[in-house]
Symmetry: C2
Subunit: 455 residues, 2 copies
């Protein structure tokens, strides 16, 4: 009331209060929405709560989330600070802390979503999709499937016409589902699963961990080149393009009647690479994580040519998790709507960010002969319609000095946490630095790298 | 402007317009929220969209969802109708259609969530938890874990103090993760996985499907009773309590040093059974699906005594799906908040609904000697603090007539789709009828059953 009283006292006649109140009441009514089946405004509590949490200031070095920890005697969730920041509002910087260039946490896209707060938000009603299945008795949102096909058409990175699409909890679940589907049951010997060094360690870890009688990990693809040409055993090759860790546009190494390839195209988006042509492989796997940056949503999809493989992967998905969370599907749909409505916006944001990071990193590392970086060829990009600069997700760094045999340790001593080359079966002269993390992480990486290079 | 002009013309001096406009501007400002980091009102578009979809009338026999199919030239998602209803607004009833009493789709709780629209809604911001991990580097929301423990304490159905909790994509994922964790690697023979007939078919399907070298499904638990007492092989027994399909409070059949039990407590909630005492088993598995009715969220959890088993299950979760979707976790948290704030509300709603359904069904079936139903003993319920009536999730029906050897076919001929007893390894004299589906499905089941009983 104090504002109303002030206004009145300072300038106007008291009876002006009456029309004002009437107008405010009209405005309140309009502001409440026009629901009919449900009491109007049932979303209000949730909206208010979400806006209040978003308004918590974490000094630009952290964020508060709706499901963040609430400490005793407090009402609102705590700030979760970026690495090397702390304090209640993340305003404290710890200068001696190690730069985190470890996991491929794709937070470089977070600012894009903060800028698109209004269009990307989604309300989940309490009764939203409680059932096991959608209206057509599947585990898959048809609208989302339509949007995924539209997106591939718009970007031109994969052929989806006449292809089956299946959803998984991130590409993680789909990678093993594909191995399972491509391995014949009761064959005379288990399918041999291989990949080209350096490769993403999960391929081996997963294949080993689930200990199926039908498949076994057998290491480096190139060692099986001759064998595969004549073998009657099933061989399954993981092909990652662009490759994690080195960003190369890999192609399958093995050929032969019994060879099947799983194309992991997690990074085959304009953020990270030129798109020379739409991929058109039998088994292609994508993930939201490296497209929009939503790793936490655990949403991925496979594009498949063969109906039998599609059916086998579907059985896997059913018996493993009964499909993918409907909340993830709903949110992914909203995010893809924003991506599609924005034309090239998100990809320009992504590519600009990654290109700048790569340039700066490249310049810094080239100051010294101590380290070298992978070379990435320029390609014509059909999406941006020009030859474009490199913008890989990871720096694949080699320690060149004879004595620097453990490159990971060299970086660790320089207060930078990367990932050991040996994890990618490439030996310890290599280390992977993640470039797709938050701006804070990248800035700190660069700061420490400058010290290391001039050391 | 027309409303403002009207107000002015009818009653007041023109200069009153000025303070009104100022006040409206102040009100608009207040109405927009008090965001500081984000522009106020960023949730509004999402809220309006959700309310508009909720307001689509589907005649009480269906619902429209935010991610529902949008047909050409339309703006809003279509109505998805309950079984046996159709038409654009689900107002058409197909009287000759078969009653669906097949899957355990827990839609009996949907009206509860519609009644609690305001408290149960949740807004997912575009930048919500994009990272792979939470602030503490896990895949698990600590707030949600706290709420799960609180809920078990309030209901008194499980001991959680000093226990580990792990999340999975529904109990489905956790069942196999537990089998994997309890099976020793490289043992002389694979672990033997068993269950007591009649049992939930997924136990066998899953164990067979993943074809691990470390475990094998071996059928009925009772056949292994003597063997298990002295065997040095690992035996893993699934114990479902209350049991699916027959609602009995089962206990483990096997005993012996090398026997481990997985307690599937999906139905151990006051909707379906008396709670005689808190369960305190080594491995207990729960699912949101049968607690709040949100099968589509694919959210479950395990309560574990042993740290080594917890670690092994965590590795499984990591290599299988890298944890559970953050959207599911966020929504589950909001649903559990509503459940906890409501005291006994949801359980009273659930129990009342299920008790009524069981009574009516029981009365109908007892009209005829053609069919019999399982008997469920009364127990004192520590949650409701009284001896309570039976309210099982499923009717486990036996066809008593000599000639009715295929009970499923008898029901099918009567326009009722149940599930074959042979799926539960109990033979075809039995059929399972699901009682936890929507009210429409139950009403139709009853209608058809009346015809069948008086046939």
């Amino acid at each position: 009331m104090s504002k109303i009283e002030n206004t009145r006292k300072n300038h106007y006649h008291p009876r002006c209060l009456v029309p004002s109140i009437i107008l405010i009441l009209i405005f309140i009514y309009k502001c409440e929405g026009d629901g009919s089946t449900y009491p109007a405004g049932w979303t209000r509590r949730a909206a208010k709560e979400a806006e209040a949490v978003a308004a918590i200031s974490c000094s630009g070095h952290g964020r508060a989330f709706l499901d963040g920890l609430i400490l005793d005697q407090r009402q609102s969730p705590i700030c979760e600070c970026n690495s090397c920041y702390g304090g209640l509002d993340c305003s404290q910087f710890f200068p001696n802390c190690s730069a985190n260039a470890d996991s491929g946490d794709p937070l470089f896209l977070e600012p894009f979503w903060m800028q698109h707060a209004a269009s990307s938000a989604v309300v989940v009603a309490g009764w939203h999709r409680m059932s096991y299945s959608f209206g057509d008795q599947t585990y898959i949102s048809q609208e989302l499937e339509k949007h995924i096909r539209k997106l591939h058409d718009a970007v031109g990175n994969a052929v989806t016409q006449g292809r089956y699409i299946i959803f998984g909890a991130g590409s993680t679940q789909l990678l093993n589902a594909a191995v399972h589907a491509l391995s014949p049951n009761n064959a005379s010997s288990p399918a041999k699963v291989v990949a080209s060094i350096p490769f993403y360690p999960v391929y081996q870890e997963q294949t080993d961990f689930f200990r199926s009688v039908d498949y076994r990990f057998q290491g480096d693809a190139s060692l099986w080149k001759n064998y595969s040409e004549t073998s009657t055993d099933r061989m399954i090759e993981f092909v990652t393009s662009p490759n994690n860790p080195d960003g190369q546009l890999n192609e399958a190494v093995l050929q032969g009647q019994n060879v099947k390839a799983i194309y992991d195209l997690a990074y085959y988006w304009p953020h990270f690479t030129a798109i020379p042509a739409p991929a058109d492989e039998d088994v292609m796997i994508f993930t939201l994580s490296k497209l929009t940056g939503h790793a936490g949503s655990r949403f991925g999809w496979a594009v498949l040519k063969d109906e039998a493989i599609y059916q086998r992967m579907q059985s896997y998905l059913t018996l493993n998790t009964m499909g993918v969370s409907r909340e993830s599907q709903l949110r992914t749909l909203q995010l893809l709507k924003v991506v599609l409505q924005g034309g090239k916006d998100m990809f320009e944001f992504g590519h600009e960010t990654m290109k700048k990071r790569w340039e700066i990193l490249n310049n810094t590392i080239s100051m010294s002969k101590r380290f070298s970086l992978q070379k990435i060829e320029s390609h014509y990009c059909t999406f941006f319609q020009k030859v474009r600069e490199a913008s890989p997700a990871y720096a694949w760094v080699k320690c060149e000095r004879e004595k620097d045999k453990d490159c990971y340790a060299v970086f660790q001593a320089g207060n930078i946490t990367g990932r050991r080359g040996s994890l990618y079966f490439a030996g310890d002269r290599y280390v992977r630095l993640s470039l797709i993390r938050s701006q804070d992480d990248f800035d700190l990486l660069l700061h420490k790298l400058n010290q290391l290079v001039y050391d």
